[in-house]
Amino acid sequence: MSVPSPRTSQADLVRRARALADELSLRSEHAVGRGIFRALLADFEANSDQDVLHRMVELLLKGSGGHLERTGGYGEQAETAANAILAELRSGDLSPGEYRTLFAWTARLLPTKPRKASPKTGPRQEGTRRPPRRTPTPAPAPPPKVVSPSRLSPFDEKSRAALESLLPKSGEPDGGGKGK
């Protein structure tokens, strides 16, 4: 495990929380709401005991307590949130206080009512357990379009037509034609 950095700025923690909240609420198959995220962190918020939190989410993901089997989207949200928390804890680059700040900001940035899961998601099969979900990598942004500059492109059609009428036509003494 890497040694926690001596100090991470609040701004960096908030940015990281923003990214985590977006991941959980916008890009996950089962969007996580604020309530369920905070439900996993209540004890940690009070005592900052990272080891207890780590053990708890690991046990939760193994099915301890039966909470992942709850219906109404609760189980799926809890699983998604637990995986995200575990991934952050395993990076090990923050102090307990910094993790508390990170997760507190993440909770604040999550919606109170998450969007509903995509309809193609089927019911959980009895007796099976999905492997821990990989956080999907966002698609790379497309390269910017290269647009050939045109002298007259900033102008509207009417203005362009008026300007073009002023340009010397081919065969005339000034020659040159268009696009010189």
Binding site: G35, R38, A39, L40, A42, D43, V52, R55, M56, L59, L60, S64, G65, G66, H67, E69, R70, T71, G72, A78, E126
Partner: protein
């Protein structure tokens, strides 16, 4: 799954409304003071006021993730808000009251003592509504002696389905969860939750209430002066599995003396409560709601599995 209880019966007549006595003074002929109760879990019962949070707990020496039960300063409590809600549910069930979730009462004007207050239904008059504080409040009940904290696996809560219940609420008897009651013959899913067993004490604060209102509150707590309780009040989670039953007993009383402005302790708490209870039992209210009160006694009373 415990047998389903009775849903709220829609009142045939609209909620009767009246302006409540204001908070600005202690009204003549009304009672203000503190009533202390003991809440105890009977044999075979537990109460589990959930917080929605998950914690690492212990079950038979093994760590387990459980739904946390309410704490205050690290000690188990029965939240006053939960007690008030449980009492209000039964008070509404046995009264001509609005539906607070659909077109309920509310006071738009500020409740200054000199101004006449807007009329509200009898439940909102006592328990409060938007713009009106209400005249009774329950504080958190705290342990009196030893309260054990354990973990139990109870049937996982269902997603609420208001279309099936028509917005009514249900009461549950004490029959334990039926393992064969789930869909497709599969055993029901269970979740771990923290539970409390033992005795708690908590106080009801009342302001400008009538003897009849206090008698009705005592009735809704399941108490009666002689014999076993009429029924056991339900608190916390897992009610649908026949759990959450508590026996409520008044153990202390202080009343405000309007002349001296002092709060005087009463030694004859049971005698005073008996008088209020009898006033309620002999009133037009009891006559009007006798059938519902009998249903409550049938459904919520302490009964062993298999008894009818």
């Amino acid at each position: 799954m415990a047998r389903q209880g009775v849903s709220r019966v829609a009142s045939a007549s609209p909620a009767r409304k009246q302006a409540p006595p204001g908070h600005g003074e202690w009204a003549e002929g009304r009672l203000t003071g503190l009533l202390t109760f003991r809440y105890s879990t009977p044999e075979g019962q537990f109460v589990s006021p959930g917080t929605g949070r998950l914690v690492l707990a212990d079950l038979d020496g093994e760590p387990i993730v459980a739904l946390e039960a309410a704490r205050s300063m690290g000690k188990p409590v029965l939240p006053g808000t939960g007690i008030k809600g449980a009492v209000r549910s039964l008070y509404e069930l046995t009264s001509s009251s609005c539906n607070p979730f659909h077109g309920g009462c509310g006071m738009r004007q500020r409740s200054f003592a000199a101004d006449p207050l807007e009329p509200v239904c009898e439940a909102c008059s006592l328990f409060g509504c938007p713009g009106w504080m209400g005249r009774i409040s329950f504080e958190d009940a705290r342990p009196a002696g030893e309260v054990t904290v354990g973990v139990e696996k109870v049937i996982a809560p269902f997603e609420p389905n208001p279309e099936k219940t028509g917005g009514d609420f249900r009461l549950y008897d004490l029959m334990p969860g039926d393992a064969a009651s789930s869909d497709r013959g599969q055993p029901p899913k269970r979740v771990a939750r923290e539970v409390f067993r033992g005795e708690f004490t908590g106080t009801l604060t009342f302001r400008n209430v009538s003897a009849l209102e206090l008698g009705r509150v005592l009735t809704c707590l399941g108490w009666r002066p002689e014999g076993p309780p009429r029924f056991l009040m339900r608190l916390g989670g897992a009610k649908y599995e026949g759990r959450g039953a508590v026996e409520v007993t008044p153990i202390g009383l202080s009343l405000v003396d309007r002349r001296s402005f002092a709060l005087e302790p009463e030694s004859e708490v049971t005698t005073r409560c008996q008088a209020w209870w009898k006033e309620a039992e002999g009133s037009a209210w009891a006559t009007e709601h006798r059938a519902t009160l009998d249903q409550l006694s049938t459904i919520l009373a302490m009964r062993r599995a298999g008894e009818t």
